[in-house]
Amino acid sequence: MTMRSLPRVLGAALATAAVVAILSVKLNAFQDYQIAEIAVEVTAVAGLTVLTGLSGQISLGNGAFMAIGAYTTALVLLHLGWPFITVLVVAAAVTAVAGAIVGVAAARLHGPYLAGATLMLGVALPSVAYIYPGVFGGDQGLNVVFTTPGFLGVNFPPTRWQAWVSSAVALVTLVLLANLGRSRVGRNWRAVRDDEVAAALAGVNVARARILAFVVSAACAGMAGALLAIITGLVAPGAFTITLSIALLTAAVIGGLGTLPGAVWGSLVIVLVPTYATDVATSHGLSAAVAANIPVAAYGVVLILVMLIFPQGIQGGVRWLLGLLGLPAARTWHPASRLEAGSPAGGAPASQQEALLTQRGDPPEPHKKEGTQ
């Protein structure tokens, strides 16, 4: 299966890359910037959706991991001036180490305790920048200079280059995560998520699997932070509040927890809905105070609608639609496909109870899927 799905994943990634490249040329400079913002969000949400959806651990602290990646990027670019690709690797490595440290603690915690511990990380860590203003620039943060390479010419829009770099990183991350999810590592994660005792009896090192999930998730967040640093040109603590961590989790849930296409849907919603809602609100002549609240309201409305109509997120809805049309859902795309092959109705849970059942009842490695290939 792995041998056969990898080309498919790569094909999908290349097709997406082509679409992004065409869009980046067709759309205006601000929309290019939005593409870059979406790519940043996708990179972070993909890591989180793997952590929460596959290994069953919640994290309200991934915004803090993004901060680590962003500050690492700013500091390395500022003091060492390394090329961005190297900086990206360094940012991912540093954040992975941080993720391992958090993971060691987190592996002992479950449910609300884990949420609480990671929440503390998300709240406290960005404040470190205030405590050491000499290194981290305090409230004002650090400037990041990221230039367009010379071979593209002086008139090449910087936001298009940012969109390309960010999308490339996001797509490579998605391909790697898709592969990882289907590998032995991913199977171990799902086994641990579904039943720790059973997984341990089957020979899975539960603690190691859980820590590794945190490491992978943190590395993704670190890369997202590095991208955020270069596209916004500034790394400041105000950008990494707890709201960011919650927005990441929201995107993962809206898109469909545990599915990589879901990470893309969720990111599209998180980035585009507020801008679109602001445009609609201001163009309809609403007063400023009302218009300012429309994006916040729209965000809430979308969240409620998705949760009630598609409890498995947008990707769950997409699969249900594909099932209705009699098309085979692109099952191999998502490592944690919760569909039982051959039962299209399963894609549209009739009630929340059913949704919960499906979520909990996913067998460690649904062998039935193999049969449909």
Partner: protein, 451 residues
């Protein structure tokens, strides 16, 4: 059963979504619609001379904290500016063009600021960025704006960092910077409380540290018995207040935001410590402060009279005081406020928003009938009349700082009462604090600056 349950879900979803939409919009609205403009009486044809300028409009953009932690108080500024623009539009506009003011919410988050400023420049094609609010937020926009050669005028922050004409030629400050303000407050303290014990209480960031830089330039170090800092995220300032009390300081000079000015006062009362407070303009809008004092005291189970507690606080002001109802600027701003922004309280934020909008109209008129972006920058580089400010602007080709002076005032009965002359100074540690010789200007009868 199952079937009907399944059908009911979308209905439930739609109903709760609608309810949420209504609930989320509960913030009180304020109307800032533009009014019809008088026809331009001009011989030169108006052209689309720059991005954001058409024959009939000038579009300017801004990032403002309309929601989020910095919204209370500060969210009144942009609607007040829009109200003044609406007034100008109704009275002939700027050479016949209407000012269209598009301000977007950044929730005081620098990452959002970076995004909305790119939207304004790259997609909405604004002519200039006007009065972007906040130090950390605007820092996320300043490099981009200068790289794009977009005028970045009258930043709403007292950071000295906007005054870097060689690095940021497009960027101009507006309000009195914190170094100058520290020097003016320090000068008052050194002359009026000579020989007494002084303590500092300040926010542990650029705002507080710039202020202290100014204070230290004027107050002899031997007088300062304690220096306490706070971070805005930690509201427990009990230890700092205990240290201030133990130092025996008779006067506490504070560079704090309103919430922490209120906490300083209340924590002091709790331990029977009631020094004279000398507080930065940023942290002392009497209406805001009085409200905060009453709210916090109520949360702690006590009832206080806000105006009684603010009485005696010494501060400074670079715009006319609200209480000075005979002042021609206050009369003008009140008139504009009542007509276009009546739902907002008439407080210091509203006066600020209108005053900075007035400065923008002055600069646009000076930039010419068909200005390019560079014309606006060179117009400000050659100086602006001081308008509503109490002291002149510092603007020049080598200086992009705004207001240069302020008067000392004391809060009495919830209003700031001017005390003594207008003082001016520079941002160096050696530059003296002197009495301003510039005569205050009167508001034009029409309410619109003369070209």
């Amino acid at each position: 059963m199952k079937r009907s349950h399944r059908l009911r879900m979308p209905a439930v979803a739609a109903v709760s979504a609608a309810a949420l939409a209504v609930a989320a919009c509960s913030t009180s609205g304020s109307s800032s619609s533009s009014a019809p403009s008088a026809a331009a009486s001009s011989s030169v044809a108006l052209t689309a001379s720059a991005p954001g300028i058409t024959a009939t409009t000038i579009t300017v953009g801004s990032h403002q904290p309309l929601t989020g932690p910095a919204a209370p108080g500060y969210s009144e500024i942009a609607p007040a500016s829009a109200a003044y623009f609406a007034y100008v539009n109704a009275h002939g506009g700027v050479y016949g063009r209407k000012v269209v003011y598009k301000y977007l919410d950044d929730a005081y988050n620098p990452a959002t600021t970076a995004s909305v400023v790119r939207q304004l420049v790259l997609q909405d094609n604004v002519y200039a960025l006007f009065n972007g609010l906040g130090t950390p937020t605007h820092l996320a926009a300043v490099s981009f704006l200068n790289a794009q050669k977009v005028p970045d005028v009258f930043v709403a922050s007292g950071c000295d960092c906007w005054n870097q004409p060689s690095t940021y030629p497009e960027t101009f400050g507006y309000q009195l910077d914190y170094i100058r303000e520290g020097k003016i407050l320090g000068h008052y303290v050194a002359t009026h409380f000579a020989g007494q014990k002084i303590a500092y209480f300040y926010q542990d960031d650029e705002f507080g540290m710039d202020g202290v830089k100014g204070l230290d330039a004027e107050i002899p170090h031997s007088m300062v018995v304690s220096r306490q800092t706070y971070v805005p995220t930690n509201v427990n300032i009990g230890p700092q207040v205990a240290a201030l009390r133990a130092s025996g300081a008779q006067e506490v000079v504070a560079f704090s935001i309103p919430a922490f000015t209120a906490l300083l006062k209340l924590y002091g009362l709790k331990v029977g410590y009631n020094p004279t407070l000398v507080v930065s303009n940023v942290g002392t809008d009497p209406i805001t402060l009085s409200g905060l004092l009453e709210t916090y005291a109520k949360q702690g189970g006590a009832t206080v009279n806000g105006n009684q507690l603010t009485a005696g606080i010494i501060t400074d002001g670079y715009l006319p005081t609200l209480g000075d109802t005979s002042n021609s600027w206050i009369t003008l701003f009140k008139k504009v406020h009542d007509q276009y922004d009546a739902k907002a309280p008439f407080d210091g934020n509203v006066v600020y928003g209108e005053a900075v909008a007035y400065a923008f109209v002055q600069a646009m008129l000076k930039a010419g009938k068909n200005p390019t972006r560079a014309d606006l920058v060179s117009a400000i580089n050659s100086g602006l009349p001081q308008g509503p400010l109490v002291a002149p602007y510092a603007y020049g080709s080598a200086n992009h700082a705004g207001a240069t002076g302020a008067y000392i005032g004391i809060i009495k009965n919830g209003v700031l009462v001017k005390e003594g002359p207008v003082l001016t100074t520079d941002t160096s540690t050696s530059g003296p604090v002197t009495t301003s010789t510039a005569a205050p200007q009167q508001a034009p009868a029409s309410g619109v600056p003369a070209p």
